[in-house]
Amino acid sequence: MSERTLALRIVPVELLTARRPQRMVERSVMFYRHAWMILVSGFFEPLLYLLSVQVGFAALVGEVTDNGVTYDYAEFVAPALMAAAAMNGAIFDATGNVYEKLRHSKLYDTVLATPMTAADIALGEIMGAVARGSLYSVAFVLTMWALGLVGSPLVVLAVPACVLIGFAFASLGMAFTTYMRSWSDLEYINAVTLPLLLFSATFYPLSSYGGWSWIVYFSPLYHGVAIVRGCNLGVLEWSMLGNIAVLLALSLAGLRFTARRIGGLLLT
């Protein structure tokens, strides 16, 4: 199999027409320079959840055992919340903001009048959303460290893992956005992220699910949680390759879908 054919099998062909996706990120940076409060306040929520665990739940739950390791509750939940922060950080930029640009401000129409292509827009916006999620991940790690919840120096590996989590959710989210018909459709996003947050072995271990644990494997967030938790513990397992593969596959699928849909929607 030639290299080109192999590349085409893995990378969606539409994306090969992307020339300068980073320009979309440049535009976002320009915007956030004015609106940095939005960035800051977006981090508030994951922070609040972390604090509520630290303040309240830790006392109620005490210790948790997962896979033979016993943790303090806060140390158990924190990595999962970090993964969730990456998810939420990426997803709003990829849904609400994208919908606004696509349907209302018509920003993408403007961009397409230049040499930029639909693939540039899809990839660029996803990159921007991932950047935001990653920003929150770094802030989260620092917060964890300040609260004494870091279990191992390998936790720095959790940051690239969160980049991957952000990628998966940004590309899936943006794909969904191309189907939205009105603002109220945003509710569907919440309807998906909340169950993911609650049921991805985030607040209680996989063993709690008993016979139902196989369902959890369907949650993309769970795969992110598994990696981040392992990093914080300092234990890297081969199974993490499987987690990575799942997230990667979802990212590429979402990317391919989005590029195609955006092109179809704008170039009529």
């Binding site: 004015h34 129409d109 403007t110 230049t114 040499p115 292509t117 009529t268």
Partner: protein, 308 residues
């Protein structure tokens, strides 16, 4: 040297069953100011979008700068500027940031973008508003900003879709002035409009479009000479009397057109025609003698008014 900038042959655009552009042929020469004149729904915007390489051609030939839109879209767009019908400015960025980021989409280096932004804002007289938000600007200012934006890549070809629609008369004149200067610099302008005064002012040549087809082609002067008379006499009568009056006025001037609210008599000399009308004992409620315009050309070609 004078190879046409745009060549369209039997160009068609179809949306499902609806045919927006029904086989049009035209050529745009370098440095000229070319217009598409026609009412809403004539197919002007669809044609422009095809030329702008943002709408795939359904059938027919289209080449811009000698390149194929389907294959070389990005390259064509890099040499073109576009002023869309609705400004589509970025409300989340300031005036100068709108220009800066647009330039970046063309891969223009940042320092160069900044330099061009300053020059362009001066060209459209918006320099004092450089750091303002876009929303508070007036309609005319927003349109000038859009024009400035369209020039950031120093295009050889500028596409303008209804450039002065929705603007007050003063703003329109300012805009025409700016466009005229561009034309003097040698930029090829292609614009669509349904305003006859705009077409007459700005265009060297134009095509009259109606229902997806080209009804006529030529300079404004040529079209008026060909399809209309030098002057027009407009007469108004009481409600319902038009048809009866038209019978009495038969034979005056070269042609007579019956509209719901007026009768138009096309003649070389409008005052003479009016005298003849009076001589026949007809006393109109209101009368007006004016020069022929493209509105009359359109009426002649399609039987309908340009503006509904």
């Amino acid at each position: 040297m004078s190879a046409p900038v745009i060549i369209a042959s039997d160009l068609r655009k179809q949306f499902g069953d609806f045919v927006a552009v029904d086989g049009v042929d035209f050529e745009v020469r370098p440095g000229e100011s070319f217009g598409f004149l026609g009412p809403n729904g004539a197919g002007k915007t669809s044609t422009m979008r095809m030329v702008g390489c943002v709408s795939p051609v359904t059938s027919g030939g289209l080449s811009i700068f000698g390149l194929d839109p389907e294959r070389d879209g990005p390259e064509i767009r890099s040499r073109m500027g576009v002023v869309p019908q609705t400004d589509q400015l970025d409300a989340e960025l300031t005036v100068s940031e709108n220009l800066l980021i647009y330039g970046r989409y063309f891969d223009i280096p940042r320092a160069e973008c900044r330099r061009r932004t300053v020059d362009l804002l001066e060209f459209v007289q918006l320099s004092e508003r450089a750091d303002d938000q876009v929303d508070p600007l007036s309609g005319g200012m927003k349109r000038r900003l859009t024009i400035a934006r369209s020039l950031i890549n120093e295009p050889d070809l500028l596409l303008l879709d209804e450039p002065t629609t929705g603007l007050d008369p003063q703003a329109r004149h300012v805009l025409w002035d700016r466009l005229y200067r561009l034309k003097q610099r040698g930029v090829t302008l292609v614009l669509t409009t349904h305003y006859m005064d705009e077409a007459e002012q700005l265009c060297d040549r134009l095509v009259v479009m109606d229902q997806g087809r080209i009804a006529a082609e030529g300079s404004p002067r040529e079209l008026i000479d060909r399809y209309s008379t030098r002057e027009v006499l407009e007469l108004r009568f009481a409600v319902g009397e038009n048809e009866a009056m038209a019978v009495k006025l038969h034979g005056i001037g070269e042609r007579c057109e019956l509209l719901p609210d007026r009768i138009l008599i096309y003649a070389r000399d409008g005052e003479d025609a009016l005298s003849e009308v009076r001589r026949r004992g007809v006393d109109p409620g209101g009368s007006l003698v004016r020069r022929s315009s493209l509105e009359d050309v359109f009426l002649r070609l399609t039987g309908r008014a340009l503006v509904d």
